[in-house]
């Protein structure tokens, strides 16, 4: 679709998500984290930047699901699946928030 005149602009291509699809949270295991995030958005006038901590907490919940349930239930974990593949949070755009956390720790 691009012509010679558009050599400096990108052509639009629909793209699949980088890390694939989220499995559905059928049991609402992370709903509480989602509610906290939505509450933050409402309180901040829908300022996404103000709610990154809550967003990070939600994604951590998704990544943690398998580990927590296995420990709690003590039965075969084959049926359980993660709601999100484990990924270092720094790689998901939260590096600055992680750095802040580790800076705060030595003070405790």
């Amino acid at each position: 679709m691009s012509t010679a005149m558009n050599f400096s602009t990108k052509t639009f291509k629909p793209r699949p998500p980088d890390k694939g699809a989220f499995p559905l949270d059928h049991f609402g295991e992370c709903s509480a984290f989602k509610e906290r995030f939505m509450e933050c958005l409402r309180d901040s006038g829908y300022e996404s930047s103000a709610c990154r901590q809550s967003a990070m907490a939600y994604l951590e919940c998704r990544m943690d699901r398998q580990t927590v349930l296995c420990k709690m239930l003590l039965f075969s974990c084959f049926q359980l699946r993660q709601l999100m593949a484990n990924e270092p949070l720094e790689k998901l755009g939260f590096k600055d928030l992680i750095d802040e956390k580790s800076e705060a720790k030595p003070e405790k």
Partner: protein, 102 residues
């Protein structure tokens, strides 16, 4: 949302019928030209998802806007980008024209 910063958004889907539905969704970005700057890290789209009878689920999208967005003069007047999803029933044997996914 700031360009380059990752963000989370939620959609909600409900199956109001008394039968399970297998659905699949595709997305659209408005304005059209902003679509090239919209990067999905992870979402619920492009894969079949099953909704049980009367089930309502949250559907997250984790994304960011390419920082080059602010350098594109055509985007100078764009301060609102709308992302929409169409969730429809998957039919057996039907294949979505997926953009190289799977």
């Amino acid at each position: 949302i700031l360009q380059g910063e990752t963000a989370l958004a939620f959609y909600k889907a409900k199956n109001p019928t008394d039968k399970p539905i297998i659905g699949i969704s595709t997305y659209n970005v408005i304005p059209f030209e902003a679509g090239q700057y919209f990067n999905k890290i992870q979402c619920f789209c492009f894969e079949e998802q099953r909704l049980n009878p009367q089930e309502e689920v949250d559907m997250p999208v984790f994304f960011y806007i390419d920082p080059e967005f602010v350098e594109d003069p055509k985007m100078a007047k764009v301060d609102l980008i709308t992302l929409s999803y169409t969730f429809f029933e998957a039919k057996e044997g039907q294949k979505l024209p997926l953009p190289g996914y799977q």
